[in-house]
């Protein structure tokens, strides 16, 4: 690294420290948003990803379970189950409900499923087992941690006592968390027998899913059937449409602040050292050499800031997850590498802004 580039930065240690701190916090913000996004993405669609069905059947016009409204009648569910080539038809009912214990109350995305069908239950269990009886419930890990619900405890769900028999993961959709009960219990809650939100269908071995889809969609009017990939994509798209604009907005603000801070430091540095730059120009410095110094400074600050951000990030995430258990974050090497690459690119953009000032430094300033 160029000694001039390094020493001029070090000559104002407090300013340098504040700059690195500011940029590091912007990087932490970006890393955190990405980690939350991954956590939400995982929690929102992991249920669908893990419950592999050949077809997801819903009421027509409902393309997803996150923000779609679908109700299937018992007749429709039975007709789906009896369609040619269907091996398993597992109805699932989604409801919004509240879990209560004493003064602790939390809203859950209650998922009623038939345990014996082996479809529609919790995607991953970190403790315990799936519900088998109507007085059992599985709660999401973040939800349980947030409200202090423990395995084996009894909770109240709309006046009905339920025992916590399992804790799940991949079921935290940030704004709400999944909870799992038997379908029979869920139906009792709404008081309408035979209803379901969707049916998960698996075909007989060797049977194609297209004939089943045709049977469901054409013979049984008012239904839509999606294969696993399409249904997953529908839900991912729905999740992104609700969350990504916010993520992008905050991330862009972070990037702008980062670029502004770095541009400001580099520009002030050039203005304070304009006589040095005028001397170097007079002595025959190629413009590329001066640009190179500014770019090296930008990259150096960005690199140190990235390192500082990584040191801060993981302990900070642990603190946030402890304070707000509903915040589930997932950080990968790819995410971190992407943010570091973006920050280095932004630092180049910052140096570009600062470099423009070099053009306005004149030879004669060396003689003044």
């Amino acid at each position: 690294m160029d000694m001039y580039a390094v020493r001029t930065l070090r000559s104002q240690p407090l300013r340098l420290l504040l700059t690195i701190g500011g940029i590091a916090l912007c990087i932490v913000l970006m890393l955190f948003l990405l980690a939350v996004y991954r956590g939400v993405a995982d929690g929102s669609v992991e249920y669908i990803r893990q419950n592999r069905a050949d077809l997801w059947v819903l009421q027509d016009n409902a393309t997803n379970i996150l923000r779609g409204s679908s109700l299937l009648s018992l007749d429709q569910i039975n007709a789906i189950a009896q369609a040619p080539g269907v091996r398993t038809a597992a109805p699932v009912l989604f409801l919004l409900s509240t879990v209560r214990k004493g003064n602790k109350v939390g809203t859950v995305f209650l998922t009623g499923f038939e345990p014996e069908k082996g479809l529609g239950g919790p995607p991953q269990l970190v403790r315990g087992r799936s519900p088998r009886a109507d007085d059992e419930i599985v709660l999401d890990r973040s939800f349980a941690r947030k409200f202090g619900f423990e395995m084996g405890e009894e909770v109240d769900l709309q006046g009905r006592p339920l025992k916590i028999v399992g804790i799940s993961r991949g079921t935290n959709a940030f704004v709400i968390q999944y909870a799992f009960v038997t379908l029979r219990f869920a139906r009792k809650l709404i008081g309408v027998p035979g209803l379901a939100t969707c049916v998960l269908v698996n075909a007989e071995p060797g049977a194609g899913i297209e004939p089943i889809r045709e049977e469901v969609c054409e013979v049984l009017a008012g239904l839509a059937a999606y294969d696993q990939e399409t249904f997953l994509a529908n839900n991912v798209r729905e999740m992104r449409s609700g969350f990504l604009p916010l993520l992008y907005t905050v991330a862009i603000i972070g990037a702008i602040v980062l670029t502004a801070i770095l541009s400001l430091l580099l520009s002030v540095n050039i203005l304070e050292r304009r006589k040095d730059f005028a001397i170097l120009k007079t002595l025959g410095s190629p413009l590329a050499f001066l640009w190179g110094m500014v770019i090296k400074q930008a990259l150096l600050i960005a690199s140190v800031s990235c390192a500082a951000a990584l040191v801060l990030f993981f302990p900070l995430v642990r603190v946030i997850e402890r304070l707000s258990p509903e915040v589930t974050t997932i950080s990968t090497g790819g995410q971190i590498g992407g943010v570091v690459a973006a920050v280095l690119l932004l630092s180049l953009a910052s140096s570009g802004v600062a470099i423009r000032r070099l053009r306005r430094i004149y030879f004669l300033e060396a003689f003044s």
Partner: protein, 231 residues
């Protein structure tokens, strides 16, 4: 192109005028100046403050363009050089010594010299060797690792001279090189500059108001109100 191959003057000015348009009031800093400096020659531009000496030096070095007249540098019109060629010329063939030394504060003496060698694309090992040799030659090897803030005025100017000759410059341009020095140091410095120029057969153009420099110059030209005075 190499100046040593050029039989004509290293620097040639023909009726050069430079007018600055500050605040809408045109001021002629240099008027109708004609001069030549040949290889190995030391030309002293003697004149009081504000007589146009520094402007003349910047014109000679191709740092500013004349309002009228023509300037040749190493046998070629300055107008014919592109900005990149002039930059390369300053890096490789012209050395500068300033009144206030103008060393880079955040670099050591050795780094102040090396940075100029970098402009010519010299390799790191060559730069270090050349810098070391030059500092020893000028008797200031002990200053190599020191920063300008810890040097005396005389030491700073010695380092500045080392920087000016580092690229074996064929043309040395010195603006009041003794202006910030006491008498004893001033004599030492001009002796050193003169000696270095002689050793390298370099052309030196010195702008100063210091009459003591006359005895070192091959030619003295008096500048007054931007014009060369007769005699």
């Amino acid at each position: 192109m190499n100046g040593s191959d050029t039989p004509g003057p290293v620097v040639g000015l023909e009726k050069v005028t430079k007018i600055f348009n500050g605040s809408g009031h045109p001021t002629a800093a240099v008027r109708e100046v004609s001069l030549e400096a040949r290889r190995g020659e030391m030309v002293l531009l003697l004149g009081p403050s504000g007589s146009g000496k520094t402007t003349l030096l910047t014109l000679v070095a191709g740092l500013t363009r004349p309002t009228s007249g023509s300037i040749s540098l190493f046998g070629r019109s300055v107008e014919a050089y592109s900005a990149a060629e002039l930059q390369a010329l300053r890096a490789a063939r012209i050395g500068f010594v300033f009144q206030t030394f103008l060393l880079i504060d955040s670099l050591t003496a050795a780094e102040n010299i090396e940075i100029v060698l970098r402009f010519n694309g010299k390799r790191r090992a060559d730069r270090a060797a050349k810098t070391r040799a030059l500092l020893e030659e000028l008797g200031i090897g002990y200053l190599a690792g020191r920063f300008p803030r810890s040097m005396s005025q005389g030491e700073k100017q010695r380092v500045a001279i080392a920087r000016a000759v580092a690229n074996d410059a064929e043309l040395l341009i010195a603006d009041e090189p003794t202006g910030s020095l006491e008498t004893r140091q001033a004599v030492d410095i001009i002796t050193l500059l003169h000696g270095q120029a002689r050793t390298r057969n370099a052309t030196v153009i010195v702008a100063s108001h210091d009459l003591r420099l006359k005895e070192f110059a091959d030619r003295t030209l008096r500048l007054h109100d931007g014009m060369l005075a007769p005699g």
